[in-house]
Point group: C2
Chain length 301, copies 2
């Protein structure tokens, strides 16, 4: 039996603009998906959702991983148990984490010999296969952990402070939001182009502030980034309420993480402020999770 885990991620800066080649900064967080694998007579996939065999509807990522890993080492039966702390479908990279943890666990169990680079690449292929399109960010950050600039992949100092995630519980379609932003950009290229560039500039300024450990300024730039996300039309009443409540409770900064329109926001806060920030998020109607950045990507448990 082998057990592996891989983390989710948040964006400190740059979502949406990264689609147009601008720099973003992603940060692995200590919310993990654990995958336990052992040899069995047939394929069994067990998760919070259900217990299935190879099932591309209910367990598309794990099923695709099994199929892919059989190309490296042919195997038949395997029992896979998935256990995740990452809210699903809210921009925290839950699908990347289950994909990377599954690849890692099968890689160990069957001695496929994939390197971390190869695991990240295979993970990205699987996300593309299941979703039709996917950025390599989620799988990369889930594999390697830490704080990483995209697309340059410079690893930054992991911030020594807390992260509070607030889930609005509102469903949003990443595909639709990305399409809406594209349409806005096509309608007003001379306006939205420079806004995308401004987000890229925030990421680059933010990068040096993360290096310097100046979290107060990192938070201030997260707030500016949030305004630009609002300008792109991906904010919502619910997100805005959680964001303003987190800031009022003393967070360094707070913004949407991921596609927006619903899903999650994220606040950066001094460790001693995290409880107050989480309580403020809860009071504003969100589900709050206190976590923090993590250096650790895929790991054998």
């Amino acid at each position: 039996m082998v057990s592996c885990s891989a983390p989710g991620k948040i964006y400190l800066f740059g979502e949406h603009a990264v689609v147009y080649g601008e720099t973003a900064v992603a940060c692995a967080v200590e919310l993990r998906t654990r995958v336990r694998v052992e040899v069995a007579d047939s394929v069994i996939i067990q998760s919070q959702i259900s217990r299935t065999g190879l099932d591309f509807e209910k367990h598309p990522y794990v099923s695709a991983v099994i199929e892919k890993m059989r190309e490296f080492v042919p195997f038949e039966g395997v029992s896979i148990t998935v256990d995740s702390e990452i809210p699903v479908g809210s921009g925290l990279g839950s699908s990347a984490a289950v994909t990377i943890a599954s690849i890692g666990a099968l890689n160990e169990l069957f001695g496929c010999g994939l390197s971390l680079e190869e695991i990240a690449t295979v993970g990205h292929e699987i996300e593309i296969r299941v979703q039709g399109a996917a950025s390599p960010t989620d799988t990369y950050v889930s594999t390697f952990g830490g704080v990483v600039t995209i697309p340059e992949r410079r690893k930054l100092k992991t911030p020594d402070c807390g992260i509070v995630v607030g889930d609005t519980g509102v469903f949003s379609s990443t595909k639709e939001l990305v399409a809406n932003v594209r349409q806005l950009r096509e309608t007003y290229p001379e306006l939205i182009g420079p806004l995308m560039a401004s987000i890229g500039r925030i990421s680059k300024l933010g990068e040096s502030l993360v290096f310097a450990g100046d979290y107060s300024s990192v938070g201030r730039l997260m707030n500016v980034n949030q305004g630009l996300l609002d300008a792109l039309g991906v904010n919502s009443l619910e997100l805005s309420d959680l964001i303003y409540s987190a800031r009022a409770a003393g967070a360094f900064g707070a913004k949407i993480t991921g596609a927006g329109g619903g899903g999650c926001m994220v606040a950066l806060a001094a460790p001693e402020k995290c409880t107050a920030v989480a309580e403020a998020i809860s009071a504003a109607g969100g589900e709050a999770i206190i976590t923090g950045p993590t250096e650790q990507g895929l790991r054998v448990e």
Copy 2:
């Protein structure tokens, strides 16, 4: 006895950026301050606030107007009654409206012979004298009415749709907000400079859309402008709630008007949507006022 009125205004686009020379678009609204004047034995100023003589604390604008108008035609006693529909201190130009209406009324009563241009100029001088600093926008728009680009002073077609103002009831200091934006701009000139330019670009795009009568697109750009105001740090939880509620109720667009941090938001809406938008603003905790653009600036009643 003479009675004059002058309107308040909202910003369709460009507040804050206009401080740095970018284009803004202001729009006179059918919320008016009425000033009735008649010759009396002494100076009597009567308003919702109190009944005083020449009083630079309680009635600074009207008192300054009296003093100034005496330079044109020496007069002694006058009774001035002020009645205003414009919420005070919330970025709707209430001080400009009372100033312009007072100048207009005294100009009529005592035959001072000031032209509209001169009235606007004197009004601006009085605002500077009372406040220490003032943009010429409020007094200009209150004098001439209509939709006007700043600083170019091109007059646009007056939109054929409703305007709903939502007052958060939260006090905010324009001086402080302008100073905060300046400080952010000084800290990150390479970031905030282009954001100011983007707001100016919105005003210019918006200008042609107002000309074309494309209110749906005007509203969409108001929303982009709102995100940039949020990025500048002048949004608040209360403003955001009213703004998102107005949009959800079918407004073309909604944004802060004026300095932000509290004060008022404004929604542009089709006439048949105004009631629903106003109800949504009320339900979200704001005080809603349904009004509309007006061609009429200073007028004798």
